[in-house]
């Protein structure tokens, strides 16, 4: 079976939101900065609730923040 991975555009979205810092995003969604770092690095796939919270902060639909792609497929 093909292996899929959760990818994200959090770094890009932070950049487009006045260079929002990881700390600011973490405070807004109620997690630690380490968790944001882990999400951005693709090491941790957040819960559905946290994923929605992050999308809400950026004011974009969930699929603009996270995508589920084949491992090895780079955009």
């Amino acid at each position: 079976m093909d292996k899929y991975k959760v990818r994200n555009n959090v770094r890009k979205l932070r950049f487009h939101h006045d260079e929002m810092t990881q700390e600011q995003l973490a405070d807004k969604v109620g997690v630690t900065r380490q968790t944001i770092i882990a999400i951005e690095g693709g090491k941790y796939a957040p819960s559905l609730e946290l994923a929605f919270k992050i999308a809400l902060v950026f004011g974009v639909p969930l699929q603009d923040v996270f995508s589920y792609e084949l491992e090895g497929d780079e955009k």
Binding site: G30, V31, T32, Q34, T35, I37, A38, G41, K43, Y44, P46, S47, L50
Partner: protein
């Protein structure tokens, strides 16, 4: 290093110290003429109470110390929030799972010593040792997951 990592490090160091104390005392009892029930029982009581107390007091002291260090570093009266989020909880659960597996293996080994003719005191001493070792392995696995990201 995050607050959680510091907390786990404190727990790891205290478990290591308790483990070293337990082994040294056990060795001493053994050297003084074999395992004597009265001395071994009192040692178990001390070790079990120490693990519980150290876990509670260590947690509180780490929180207070880190708050003081944060206040000195930032020179502000703003209270640092030590949030425990979903990733911390998941890492905690994974650590507990590893710890339980390690303890189960320890219990099996202890039972095997009894099955192979060792006295019950040896089995129970190994059970206590297994619980300390399991805590240490659980702490190490949590630290590893924090360092790795998840």
């Amino acid at each position: 290093m995050s607050y959680q990592e510091k907390n786990i490090t404190v727990s790891l160091v205290s478990h290591l110290l308790i483990g070293v104390y337990y082994l040294s005392q056990l060795f001493e009892i053994q050297q003084a003429g074999g395992l004597v029930a009265a001395r071994v029982f009192s040692l178990w009581a001390v070790v079990i109470v120490a693990i519980i107390v150290v876990n509670i007091v260590g947690n509180i002291l780490t929180h207070i110390l880190l708050s003081i260090i944060h206040a000195i570093k930032t020179r502000s009266e703003h209270v640092e929030k030590f949030v425990e989020d979903e990733r911390d909880q998941l890492i905690g659960l994974k650590g507990d799972k590893v710890s339980h597996i390690a303890f189960s293996i320890g219990v099996l080994i202890a039972m095997l010593t009894f099955a192979f003719g060792q006295p019950p005191l040896v089995m129970f001493s190994l059970l206590i040792l297994a619980s300390i070792v399991a805590e240490i392995i659980g702490d190490l696995s949590q630290l590893y997951l924090y360092r790795k990201g998840f």
